[in-house]
């Protein structure tokens, strides 16, 4: 079978800070509409991998490709039009409205001296509608719940019109209802063709959301491949260093305990 060019791929990647490798031998590829989940304990280096993929820190060695272009040759603007980042939380001390935040996604599409105009406003409202929060456009982010803020950040990434979303623990700090809301949004985006790479420390979520999974802990890559195949009790026991049981419920979902 002919494989299409992935939107994002990495081969034999070694990552780390200040020339010291945290891991090596990471291979991954992401095609349109696929969801890849990085699973591993806190502090395993998932965020470092994301920062490397976004070109915010250089890899120690190995190659990252965005489509047919090496990441290292692309400018910040070029990267931003292909890869959008959804951070774990909003970290600004200022009370922007949800719409203001989403409009920021247009930065890579606008000239240096431009401000967002009617077209960008329309795009931003479409992004908010896709996530079902158009009615919150004028609300200050300080008044939103954690889940709503996460949806605003996802909407901003959509407004960036990139093919790949990189989401750092999108549901880590959310309560149950918000978690479900964000997980549904992720599935819908994938169905619409967006490629998504997200990190999680919850194996149940990885099994429910992801097509592929990459298991990562401090000693390196434990396993990588189709989520249904590699999310085994044995791999997860090795990943977390504690015995893990895998069960399949009547609706076909995987649960780990």
């Amino acid at each position: 079978m002919e494989r299409m060019t992935p939107l994002l791929s990495a081969s034999d990647l070694a990552i780390g800070h200040g020339g010291k490798a945290l891991f090596q031998g990471i291979d991954l590829r992401l095609e349109p509409g696929r969801v890849l989940c990085l699973l591993g304990p806190n502090g395993a280096g998932k965020t470092t991998l994301f920062r490397t993929l976004l070109g915010l820190i250089p890899p120690i060695s190995g190659r990252i490709m965005l489509g047919d272009d090496p990441l290292s040759r692309l400018s910040r603007v070029q990267i931003a039009t292909r890869l959008a980042h959804v951070p774990q939380s909003l970290t600004t001390p200022f009370a922007f409205t949800a719409l203001d935040i989403v409009l920021m996604g247009a930065a890579a599409l606008l000239g240096p001296f431009s401000r967002p105009g009617p077209v960008e406003h329309q795009q931003a409202m479409i992004a908010l509608s896709r996530l079902g929060i158009a009615d919150l456009a004028q609300t200050e982010i300080t008044r939103l719940s954690g889940g709503q803020r996460q949806l605003v950040l996802i909407a901003r990434a959509l407004a960036q019109e990139a093919g790949v979303l990189i989401m750092d623990e999108p549901t880590a700090s959310l309560d149950f209802a918000n978690r479900v809301q964000v997980a549904n949004a992720i599935r819908q985006l994938a169905v619409a063709g967006t490629a998504i790479i997200l990190s999680s420390h919850d194996p149940d979520q990885a099994a429910a959301l992801a097509d592929d999974a990459l298991l990562l802990n401090r000693s390196g890559v434990i396993a990588s491949g189709s989520a249904q195949e590699i999310l085994t009790a044995e791999n997860l026991s090795r990943l977390y260093g504690i015995p893990v049981r895998r069960e399949r419920s009547t609706d076909g979902r995987l649960h780990f305990s």
Partner: protein, 330 residues
Amino acid sequence: MTERRLSWLLALALIATLMIGAMIGPYALTPSQIVAVLGGDRSDPQAVTVLWNIRLPRVLAAAVVGAALAAAGAAYQTVFRNPLVSPDILGVSAGAGFGAVLGILLGLPVMAIQILGFVTGLTTVAIVLGLTLALRGTGQVLVMVLCGIAIGALAGAGISLVKLLADPDQQLPAITFWLMGSLAGIKRPDIGAALPALLIGLAPLIALRWRIGLLAMGDDEARAMGIDATRLRLLVIACATLMTAAAVSMAGVIGWIGLMVPHMARLLTGPRFDRLLPASILIGAGFMVLVDTSARSIATIEVPLGILTAVLGAPIFVFLLARGAKSWSE
């Protein structure tokens, strides 16, 4: 309220404060006199002299200084992602103060004192930025602020030394007065001399104002959205510092404006820098004109501006904290 309407309202308010500032003084002018003189009517020579040579330079200088400090403050607060930052956090005021008091000690003419203050203010921030780049590593913004505190303290020590050496009858009062801020000695050419630096500093801030606002999201986020965060922040710091140094060398050290006016503006516009900057400029200019007009009219002697801005600023700031704390604290 729409952006444009707000700008018009603030511009009208500024014109009103300029008018009030031009009217009040030992030789009071009426609005109709002012309009007539501005329109070219020379039938009242005394009014012409007072307006063109005394009042207008003074109110325009106040407006320019207030606008510059407020714009720089708004820029600093946005790029440092901290609403408690004022434009002298990197030591520009202390540095400019050191140069100016040294000029007073050496008995230099007024223009030379201003130039010396301007140059030392910029040099101080250049040293801070140079040190930050040399120490480059983790937490660049934090390193920058700490370097600013260290170098600012050094300049403060220099100021103390100059005060110690100064002639207590002649120079020390002049130094003290300068360090508290005043526009009493302002002449028309002073404004012209400071204007190029102010405009060079302001133009990039206005042109890039929407992008600069994205720096409020943090470096990684701004970069992931396609912004070269490090370079843009350095540019903003350079521009805001240039404006602050020009304002301080003209009017001495005036605190509070750069910290407080952006807060007042933010209540009206929200935190978006593209809206905050014009509002800060207009409010800063108007506020400073009112403060300066009070400074020269509430007592028989001129009250230093720094004292008035603190007396007015502290209560207003506490009021803003009470009203707006929830809008910028996490």
